[in-house]
Each structure stands twice: as structure tokens, then as C-alpha cells.
């Protein structure tokens, strides 16, 4: 859910590149503080390093904790962060239209505004563009010699089609986030109270729905132009997984997920996790097999919600490059584990400080909550208050309870597990600057 705040930053970056250097400080000063630190770091790193693949600087791991640097190094390796997605996006008629309409929503309580804000401004804890990961995996794997020269972006070491795919990945992810910000107007708790609020909400829904559809429509056109039906199939199935993820388990009136009541399911006996059927993308994730096991249930939910798209995009990218089935599978696993490691990291974040910060809440199906429910099923009674709306829950109390238990440690363990798995899969790829960049990103993420 929360892996989305990347592309707005790229919009800013790309716009900045078009601004003469002497104007830069001014622009930076105007931007949000978080952005400022990010961008100035970025600029120093690009000016001090020279050459593309050559430098030993690239292969030395960046200092610990330096997420931003790991990402900007990585961006340089694949040329542009991702192609011109953001700019093209901003310049299209429909999006200009949306921006106009969005202005009418400013000041209203529609969650679409929050989503838009998250997309445009982001702090340090963001997964940089998924497109970037797809491009790095593409470059790390290389492509079959049979691919004609015209289809290659020689300087960046990726194919044009892979760049297009990276764009599609981003568009689909954003479209899901935007569709997810649709408000349920049937609900008795939110909206619908007075006419003005209802109108705002209904209008916001319209814009959100159409924007998401616009992105989906465009991604399907872009996908079609790749002229590879296996790729179309795979990516379409990732869209399916996204929509399926919103149906799992109990939900409050705004469709926020709630955990199952402890004891609803027998703990399953299987020892290996479940995953998609490799031979038939139409088959859904067999999530029923893992209910009752908090870790596996968490894994399934988040594969559907995140890992599927990243994994399948990495896999599809190698399909475009004519790589072997085996390497494709490794790419899928890499994307999946990376997304899961990142999700575990995000899930742990609200529990890093002893007091829950004001206005911060956490998902009730995040790893710490699920682990704590296993440790102390009695906590479920407090979560029942959220059946109508998760806002009715006393987050501070739950936060305290979770900190007192073993759940946070288990979440950290979970993150380490998927980080290790992602690093291990990466060993199947030849040692290149792109692979190194991926490793750096993973390591930096671990220290966030």
C-alpha cells in the first residue's frame, strides 16, 4: 500500500534538469525541505562522479544509511530514472484536465488529495520508482544477442521496450493507488452527511476513477505496442492481483482491511510458502491455503498488493530481452522479495519510536499487528471497534501493546529474511554495476 511516493519526485527532478544551473538554488529553496536535502545531495553526487560505468566509485558501496545516494547512483546507471513518463504525463491533455479538476477538490476531505500529495511530495521513506528497479534488473541481466541494435538504448544498456515496460509498471501502480482512493459513498460514517461533502466526495470519486482508468488504458496501449503477448498476459495478471488484493479478509466500511479473528482458521501445516502457478497466470493466488499462519498470510496479501507487479514486471522485462525461463524466474523472485522486504520495513516504521506520532496510524494487517495477534489473541477485542471504521480504534493503546511484545522483532526478522532472499537471488545475475546498484539499494533500505 504505502510504496508509492516516488514519481512526483521524479517530476520535480526532470523539471529541474530543464532549469539553467544558476536558477537552481532558488528552485531548491522553494521546494519542500525533504526535497531540498534530497536534490542537493543528488547534485553533488552527479557532479563529483564522472563517467558512466568506469568508476570504482560506483562499485564501492555508499556509506551506510545513505538511501538517497544509492538511488541516485542507480538512476545514473540506467540513464534517465525511467523514461519521460512524468513529463509526458504532465503534458497530456487528460492529465492537464485532471489537474484543473483537482483544484476544485483542494480543501475537501477526499482521500484523492492525500494520494496526490503523497505522489508529489515525499520524505526519505519512499521506495524510489519501481520503474528504476525494473530497469536495473533489465540491465543486470543484459539481453540476448539476437535482439537487433535499433531496439537498444546503447548508452544505458537497456532496451527501448524495457524502458516502456518500466513506464507501464509505474502507471499501473499509480492507477491502483488512485483507484484505491475512491470513497465508499454508501457508508454511514463518512461523507453523505451534508450535501456539500457528498458532492465533493462524489466529484472526487469521478476524477479518481477516470484518472486511474486513463492510466490503465494507456498502459494497455503501451503494452500492446511491445508486441509480446506473454508480457501482456503477465502484466495483465498483475492488474488482476491488485484488484484481488482489495477483497481479502474482513473490511470496514471504507474497505480498510481487518485481520481475521484469531482461531478462525487452523494453522496450516505446509512448510513452504505459496506463490502463483508458474504455468498459468490466470490462476489466482491460492491464499486460502495459508490463512491462519500470520507470516504467510501477510506474505500473500503483500504479494498481491505489491510483489506481484514488481516481480512480474522484472520477469516480463527479461522476456523482452529474450532471456532464459530460469533467469526470468529469478527476476520474478527478486522483484517479489524486494517488494516484501520493503513492505516489512514500512510496516515496522510506526513502531520505531516509543510513542505513536500524532496523526499516524498503521494498517491492521501490517506485520506487527498480525504477529502480535498470534502472540496475544486477546488484542482482537480491541480491533473489533474498527469493524465500522478503522478510525474508531485506539491506535495508541495497540501501539503500546505491540511494542511490549515480540512482534516488532519478528517484523524485523521478516524484513531480514526477504532482504537476504533478494540478495541471494541476485547472485544468479552476472556481476555488473547494475547488480551492485541493486545490492546498494537493498543494503541502504535495511538501514532506513
Amino acid at each position: 500500500m504505502a510504496m508509492y511516493r516516488a514519481s512526483g519526485l521524479r517530476i520535480m527532478q526532470q523539471l529541474r534538469r530543464r532549469i539553467p544551473a544558476e536558477l537552481q538554488p532558488l528552485q531548491v529553496a522553494k521546494a519542500a525541505p525533504a526535497l531540498q536535502t534530497f536534490t542537493s545531495q543528488r547534485w553533488t553526487s552527479t557532479t563529483t562522479t564522472s563517467g558512466k560505468h568506469a568508476s570504482p566509485q560506483v562499485t564501492t558501496p555508499p556509506p551506510r544509511h545513505d538511501w538517497n545516494r544509492a538511488v541516485s547512483e542507480a538512476e545514473r546507471i540506467v540513464g534517465y530514472p525511467t523514461s519521460f513518463l512524468s513529463l509526458r504525463w504532465l503534458l497530456s491533455d487528460e492529465i492537464a484536465n485532471v489537474a484543473l479538476h483537482l483544484r476544485k477538490l483542494v480543501g475537501s476531505a477526499h482521500p484523492l488529495m492525500k494520494t496526490a500529495k503523497h505522489l508529489l511530495y515525499n520524505g526519505k521513506n519512499t521506495m524510489q520508482a519501481w520503474g528504476l528497479i525494473v530497469l536495473l534488473v533489465s540491465k543486470a541481466a543484459g539481453h540476448a544477442p539476437s535482439v537487433p541494435d535499433v531496439e537498444q538504448d546503447k548508452s544505458a544498456g537497456v532496451l527501448h521496450s524495457q524502458r516502456a515496460l518500466a513506464e507501464v509498471t509505474e502507471m499501473i501502480r499509480i492507477s491502483h493507488l488512485v483507484h484505491n482512493s475512491v470513497v465508499n459513498l454508501q457508508s454511514s460514517t463518512q461523507a453523505g452527511q451534508d450535501v456539500d461533502t457528498y458532492d465533493d466526495m462524489s466529484f472526487g470519486n469521478k476524477i479518481g476513477l477516470l484518472t486511474g482508468d486513463y492510466l490503465l488504458g494507456h498502459s494497455s496501449a503501451e503494452l500492446a505496442n511491445l508486441r509480446n503477448q506473454e508480457v501482456v498476459e503477465l502484466i495483465s495478471s498483475a492488474v488482476r492481483d491488485f484488484s484481488e488484493s482489495e477483497f481479502i479478509g474482513e473490511r470496514d466500511e471504507q474497505n480498510n482491511p481487518l485481520p481475521y479473528k484469531p482461531g478462525t482458521f487452523q494453522r496450516p501445516s505446509l512448510s513452504v510458502g505459496v506463490d502463483f502457478n508458474e504455468h498459468d497466470v490466470m490462476m489466482p493466488m491460492p491464499i486460502a491455503q495459508v490463512l491462519g499462519n500470520p507470516e504467510e498470510e501477510w506474505e500473500c496479501r503483500n504479494i498481491l498488493n505489491a510483489g506481484s507487479l514488481l516481480g512480474k514486471s522484472c520477469q516480463a522485462s527479461l522476456k523482452l530481452a529474450g532471456q532464459s525461463e530460469e533467469l526470468q524466474r529469478h527476476a520474478y523472485r527478486f522483484g517479489k522479495h524486494l517488494a516484501l522486504a520493503w513492505q516489512a520495513c514500512l510496516d515496522a516504521e510506526p513502531f520505531q519510536c516509543p510513542q505513536l506520532p500524532l496523526d499516524v496510524t498503521f494498517s491492521l494487517v501490517s506485520a506487527p499487528v498480525l504477529f502480535h495477534l498470534e502472540h496475544d489473541p486477546g488484542m482482537y477485542s480491541q480491533l473489533e471497534a474498527g469493524k465500522q471504521s478503522v478510525d474508531n480504534i485506539d491506535y495508541d493503546k495497540i501501539h503500546k501493546a505491540i511494542l511490549a511484545g515480540p512482534a516488532l522483532a519478528k517484523t524485523k526478522e521478516l524484513q531480514r529474511k526477504h532482504t537476504a532472499a533478494a540478495l541471494a537471488v541476485l547472485q544468479h545475475f552476472p556481476a555488473t554495476d547494475a547488480r551492485q546498484a541493486l545490492e546498494n539499494i537493498i543494503l541502504a533500505m535495511q538501514d532506513l
Binding site: 491533455d93 498476459e233 495483465s236
Partner: protein
């Protein structure tokens, strides 16, 4: 005009004569006629004219003069409005009684497209439901996604798609089970995309009824409904990808971009009066006709037809689609709620100015400000409804639809004669004469 009479394979002389008589009646009545001010309002700016030309591509008369002329003449083609039908069963029966109307070209024997396609359509909805079921492990997702595939729809899109598919196969003398199966998948796609758009429309429009039953947004959480729409699309895309034809996927993906662009066009309709009609026609093409046109084209592409045949399929679908929507917009003013399965004057209530209103603006300029404010003030909807009925807006809309149907018939005649090719012509009659 010339193109209508010279199109190949006219079956019997009497039809040719009759068609001619009709056309003279329609087109030849006012030689040297100069466009009146209302028509100028509609079509004179060169940009609009160009757009209208593009939209009406394939018609032989010159746009600047004859098209508004055509639109102006409140021709008596509305007799068939007297027919009353209220169910699909009646609609089907009706296809065999159309000789009663002088306006339709005469065919020597009668064909019911639903009957000749029985094999292909019989289990159509079962197949869609099976497909939707197999893609998810979540029963609720399956329930919402299959809600509109209850077999109560007209299945117009799959029916036309299959007719065109088989007409083309016959034309190319290339009929294999495998090919028909693939074309049927395209028909499934057309209906699935249509349903997905209905599901999303329901959330956007907040309407409570569709097809005579509660709409999805009245029954389920709007977030889930949105996701179910995406789900239908993704399953349809997987299915099409499995046909393993790059070109078919490209043709069909055009439908999705057009649909969304059409919706965006519907959001803002505050163009000047001159641009309004062209805007309306483009929007109608994108929202309705593109789906039919591109699905039909895809059946030609997968049959490896040449570009000309693919273009015939596309243009036929475009004309049928435009006519279908024009009639739909007209019925919104004349049908009762029970017949349509949804409230009437729904478009006005949504603030949309459709063809009947735009035509009525010529006679009653006081409609213009109402169009601009999207019928938002109290009494606007009732007043506009009344004025449309007082004007010739409904007849003019019907006439425009008729023109597109005739063009569709002409295009169908370019294919080799076969029961399916005749079926395509019957469909044009069904579209113009439908009551729901």
C-alpha cells in the same frame, strides 16, 4: 448518393429502385439550397467541418452543404416509432417484420441475426462467467464482476461482432473452427469491456438502477466495485493476449484509450455552440462506436483480411455504433422507465446535452444557457425536456441515426453475400427501430 446506388451486389432491381426513390426524396429535394443560420452554427467553422468530415468519412456527399441540409429536413422517417416492443423476445420477432417500413431497403428473405448466431451466443454469458470465476479466489469479487453478465442484456456487441466475423470469413472463404473460436474471444472481450465500463460508470454517475435491477454501486462498496471493474478488464486482457496476435491486441487496446478519453470529454462540455455538436459526435464515437468498430476490425485482422476489408468492418462498426448511441439518446426522451430499465431523461439529469437537445437549441435558443450550466438550476431539466419534445430534435436525431444505418448497410454490401452479410444489414434496421 452515388455511392449508395453503385455499391456492388444489389440483389434485386426493385430494391434498387426503391432505394433510389427514397434517396431522391431525402437528398434531392432542395437544389441550390444554402445553409441556414442554424446549420451554419453547427458546421461552418472549418475545424468543426473537418471533424465532422472525419467522423462521417465514407459518405459521398459534400459535407458543407448537404449534411446540414440533411439534418435540417425533418423527414418522416419516424413511423416506426409506432411499433411497440418491450422485450428482447419482441425485438427478435421484430426483425422479421421490417418490410412494413418503406424506409428500409428490401431484402429478399428475412434473417434473424440472433437465430443464425445461436450456436455462438447460446453459452456466451456462461463462458464469460466461467472466465471471471477462474481468475479469482475471492467469491465477492466474482459476484460483483459477473453481476451484469446475467444474460439480460441485448448482447448487441457480441452479436454484431460474430456476424461481422462470419461475414468476413465467408468473404475470404476461410472458415475454420479455430478461427471462429478466436473471433468469439474477441466478442467476449467486447462485452467484457462494455460491462467494465458500465461498472465504472455506475460509480461515477451514482445511478441506482440499470437494466431493470439495482446497479452495482447500490449493492456493494464503491471501492470494491471500482476494483471489480479493473478485474474484468484484466481478465479480458489476459484472454486476448492468449490469442497471441500482436495486431489484435493493438487494435483492441485502442478501445480502452478511446473510452477513457470519451469520459473525459463528457466531463467538460462548455464549448461554444459551434463546437458543441462536433464535440458530441467525437465523444459518442469514443464512448460507444470505437468499441464496436475496433472489435469488428479485430475479427478481420485475426482472419488475416486485407486492409480494405478491415476498414469496411471498422467503418460498419463505427456507423452502427454512432446510430446505436443516437437512438439511445433519443430513447432517453421517449421511452418509459420500465422499457429502458433505467430512469428516463437520465442524461439531462446528469447535465449532459445529447443530440436531441443540441438540435432543439436551433429552434429554442433559450436552451443554450441551460446547456452551459448543465441543467443545474431547478426546473431546467423539465423545461429542456419539454422544449426537446416541442422541437424537431427527436426526428432530427433519428434521421441522423438513420443516415448512419444506411451507410452501415452500404458497407455491409461490399462483402460477399451470405446469411451473415445479410444479418449485418438486418442489424442496421434493428438498431434504428429498437424501443429499448
Amino acid at each position: 448518393m452515388a455511392c449508395l446506388s453503385t455499391s456492388g451486389r444489389v440483389v434485386c432491381g426493385s430494391r434498387r429502385q426503391q432505394t433510389h426513390k427514397l434517396l431522391y426524396q431525402l437528398l434531392g429535394s432542395r437544389p441550390g439550397y444554402t445553409a441556414p443560420s442554424a446549420a451554419t452554427g453547427l458546421f461552418s467553422p472549418p475545424k468543426v467541418q473537418q471533424q465532422a468530415m472525419r467522423l462521417c468519412h465514407g459518405l459521398s456527399f459534400s459535407m458543407g452543404k448537404d449534411y446540414p441540409d440533411l439534418l435540417q429536413s425533418p423527414h418522416k422517417c419516424s413511423q416506426s416509432l409506432q411499433y411497440s416492443q418491450s422485450s428482447k423476445a419482441n425485438l427478435r420477432q421484430h426483425s422479421s417484420v421490417h418490410t412494413q417500413q418503406p424506409a428500409g431497403p428490401v431484402r429478399e428473405f428475412q434473417i434473424d441475426p440472433y437465430i443464425i448466431l445461436d450456436d455462438d451466443l447460446k453459452y456466451f454469458y456462461d463462458d464469460v462467467r466461467y472466465l471471471l470465476k477462474s481468475g479469482t479466489s475471492q467469491p465477492e469479487l466474482d459476484t460483483i464482476a459477473s453481476y451484469y453478465f446475467d444474460g439480460q442484456g441485448k448482447a448487441l456487441r457480441p452479436m454484431v461482432t460474430m456476424l461481422m466475423a462470419k461475414a468476413i470469413n465467408y468473404h475470404l472463404n476461410n472458415e475454420s473452427h479455430q478461427l471462429v473460436h478466436k473471433q468469439r474471444q474477441i466478442a467476449l472481450f467486447s462485452e467484457m469491456v462494455h460491462s467494465a465500463s458500465l461498472v465504472h460508470d455506475d460509480v461515477i454517475d451514482q445511478s441506482d438502477f440499470r437494466r431493470g435491477k439495482p446497479s452495482v454501486n447500490a449493492l456493494w462498496n464503491h471501492k470494491k466495485v471500482t476494483m471489480a471493474g479493473d478485474y474484468i478488464l484484466s481478465i479480458a486482457s489476459i484472454m486476448i493476449a492468449r490469442l497471441r496476435s500482436d495486431d489484435v491486441t493493438i487494435v483492441l487496446s485502442q478501445i480502452l484509450t478511446d473510452l477513457v478519453q470519451g469520459e473525459f470529454m463528457q466531463l467538460g462540455s462548455r464549448e461554444t455552440e459551434n463546437e458543441r455538436f462536433a464535440h458530441y459526435l467525437t465523444k459518442t464515437y469514443r464512448k460507444t462506436a470505437s468499441l464496436i468498430a475496433n472489435a469488428l476490425k479485430a475479427t478481420a485482422v485475426i482472419a488475416q483480411a486485407d486492409d480494405n476489408v478491415a476498414e469496411v468492418a471498422f467503418q460498419y462498426g463505427r456507423n452502427i455504433g454512432l446510430a446505436f448511441q443516437l437512438v439511445d439518446d433519443m430513447l432517453d426522451f421517449v421511452s418509459s422507465t420500465e422499457q429502458m430499465g433505467k430512469p428516463t431523461a437520465a442524461d439531462l439529469k446528469l447535465g449532459l446535452a445529447t443530440a436531441p437537445v443540441l438540435f432543439a437549441c436551433e429552434k429554442y435558443p433559450e436552451l443554450n444557457p441551460m446547456v452551459m450550466r448543465r441543467f443545474s438550476e431547478p426546473g431546467d431539466v423539465e423545461r429542456a425536456f419539454e422544449l426537446v419534445h416541442k422541437s424537431h430534435g427527436l426526428e432530427q436525431t433519428r434521421f441522423l441515426a438513420k443516415k448512419h444505418c444506411n451507410e452501415a448497410i452500404r458497407l455491409a454490401q461490399e462483402l460477399t453475400e451470405s446469411p451473415y452479410q445479410k444479418g449485418l444489414q438486418v442489424v442496421a434496421d434493428l438498431v434504428i427501430n429498437r424501443m429499448k
